[in-house]
Symmetry: C2
């Protein structure tokens, strides 16, 4: 099943790639770092080298299968690409990541870029938040 995804993306189907993709699927929305994937595979008895994971994810991203993000400091994290674009909210207390979309914000970004004579290629928007304290 992953094989189809990879093949469809024009990527050679190898065991490491299938396993890495599976990890992201099993993560079911949670964002994983390369290290996370590496350790998860180790525990599953699969021994995949770190550079392989970096290279696979790079390919996956180029193919549009996954997206990477960098929150605050720390390593890049990866998630399966979803149908609709979304931005992220990062909770500074719990490190929890929440996804959201705001059509109005999206629209204005495009508008602002164009007002400056540019074409909007991509954007990153991360809201750093804390649980609202009840007063």
């Amino acid at each position: 099943m992953d094989n189809q995804e990879l093949r469809k993306a024009g990527l050679k189907v190898t065991l490491p790639r299938v396993k890495i993709l599976q990890q992201l699927e099993d993560a079911d929305g949670r964002h994983m770092s390369v290290e996370d994937i590496y350790r998860a595979l180790l525990e599953a008895g699969e021994d995949v080298a770190l550079p392989t994971i970096y290279r696979a994810l790079e390919k996956f991203e180029q193919a549009g299968l996954v997206e990477s993000h960098k929150f605050e400091d720390g390593p890049a994290v990866y998630e399966l690409a979803q149908d609709e674009h979304h931005d992220h909210m990062f909770c500074l207390d719990t490190n929890k990541v929440i996804e959201f979309v705001d059509p109005e914000i999206e629209k204005r970004q495009k508008m602002i870029a164009e007002q400056h004579g540019y074409e909007l290629v991509d954007h990153t928007l991360v809201l750093y938040v804390r649980p609202k304290k009840k007063s």
Copy 2:
């Protein structure tokens, strides 16, 4: 004059700190990496160690004197803190950085955080753009 800024911020006024702050002032809006500052100081005949620059900027940022940003990959870049908050547009062709503010986007960010039960502490918004191609 920088001395006042530093003193006012409760920071000990040392030669390296003054020189570093000067570089950011001379940069006049352009964002500088630690390496940029380091080399600029070297060329100016000032010999300041890299860790000193990192540590000084860390202090400056805590004191609200400077802001740091990370665009795509590459090193963190620093700029003098300005009165009003702003976001950034990063040109993928020229690496030029353009600053902008959109009150509507600001408002909606806050709203979205609150709708999810959070308090908006900070945010990063970077538009990655390319010069509009004339068709």
